[in-house]
Homo-oligomer: 213 residues x 2
Amino acid sequence: MVQPDQQDPPGRPYGGRSKAERAAERRERLVAATIALLGTQGEARTTMTAVCAEAGLTERYFYESFRGRDEALTAALDAVSTEIADAALAAVRASDGSPQARVRAALGAVVDVLSTDPAKGRLLTRESSANAALRARRQALVGWFADFVATQSSSLFGDQAWSGARAGHHAIVFVAGYAELVGSWLDGDVALDRDQVVDLGADLLAAVVRRPT
Amino acid sequence: MVQPDQQDPPGRPYGGRSKAERAAERRERLVAATIALLGTQGEARTTMTAVCAEAGLTERYFYESFRGRDEALTAALDAVSTEIADAALAAVRASDGSPQARVRAALGAVVDVLSTDPAKGRLLTRESSANAALRARRQALVGWFADFVATQSSSLFGDQAWSGARAGHHAIVFVAGYAELVGSWLDGDVALDRDQVVDLGADLLAAVVRRPT
DNA sequence: GACATCTGACAGGGACGTCTGTCAGTTTTG
DNA sequence: CAAAACTGACAGACGTCCCTGTCAGATGTC
């Protein structure tokens, strides 16, 4: 019998790390490379070959983590999305001021992430609809962020806020619209400073999500 | 001397129409075909070959009107954009009610154009950022529509409206956000009827562009 | 130390789209 | 009726990217 004693551990350590660790690290490098390329070169130039070169890996390892180019693109979009969602949530939790102050904290956290690494900003605000797969994911994310905004607003503004489906529709407009504005701001097409962009967002969120008094 | 008597008219009639007429008609067919393909098949499948086949013309005539694929794509986007701008302006001029009623008339005209021919809706709300060239044109159009909205709002709402740069920024959010909402509505992801979508837009426009009283 | 696995480099088939060129047949002009 | 322009069909070079496969060398286990 040439059968191995155990047929489950088909991976052996290498360089001191297990197979799973190595694969995870490679995947991370590939995602980071995809984010960098998407945000600097654009979707069209973010080819599999380019991603592998940027990550310092060969095509074989690409297929280890992704079924194809689209999966890497959506993974990059997901990574940036969860990062800003986490940042916004953490900022809300860390803030203990008025609802308006909490909104500003959350928007400030988002704006800071996207402007500190402009590649992430461009990826999220511009390249996120450059591809059919990205577009589908972006739509889902807009819906997710809209729900997030509606829920948070409801708990922040209480009775003063819309609720239910209407709040969701208004939030969609805010999320997509503010993303566009931030994108233009990152491009230098909007003459505002960081605090003004945040304040503008807070004002608009209040105007859009709160009921007329 | 074999020189022609006149060197300017290097085109002769054919089928009863002048060269310029024929070229213009072919260009129109190509633009219509591009709109149809962009709006039904998506940007990726809107290849030059496909556009020519859809228009019933051969590649040579493509280059008669466009330098390349990108020019045809942006021409299609421009055509739909001017159509809805004209429709909105005509609706405002035809309406003689309150500012709110005029806004509803304008938004209704836009929504009707985009829902009557869903291809135009998808093209404008989804595929308009599927390509680097389209994205650049879309950004310019968002700015243009935002100025349009700000100007119209200013004349409709008078002192109650923001003015200047701030109005422009708010209008960008409204234009991009409402486009997203209409796109979702066209996809069937928003459970509203036509009038509700229009009213929602009118409410949001008022909330976004008017000063808090 | 022998053997299996892992890694990186690279070559090349296959598919697709762009763009140019040719060629026969039709319509118009002189 | 001849010459010139117009039209439509099509072939094929060219470039790019996706994806698979091979191969030598490095690193591990037994």
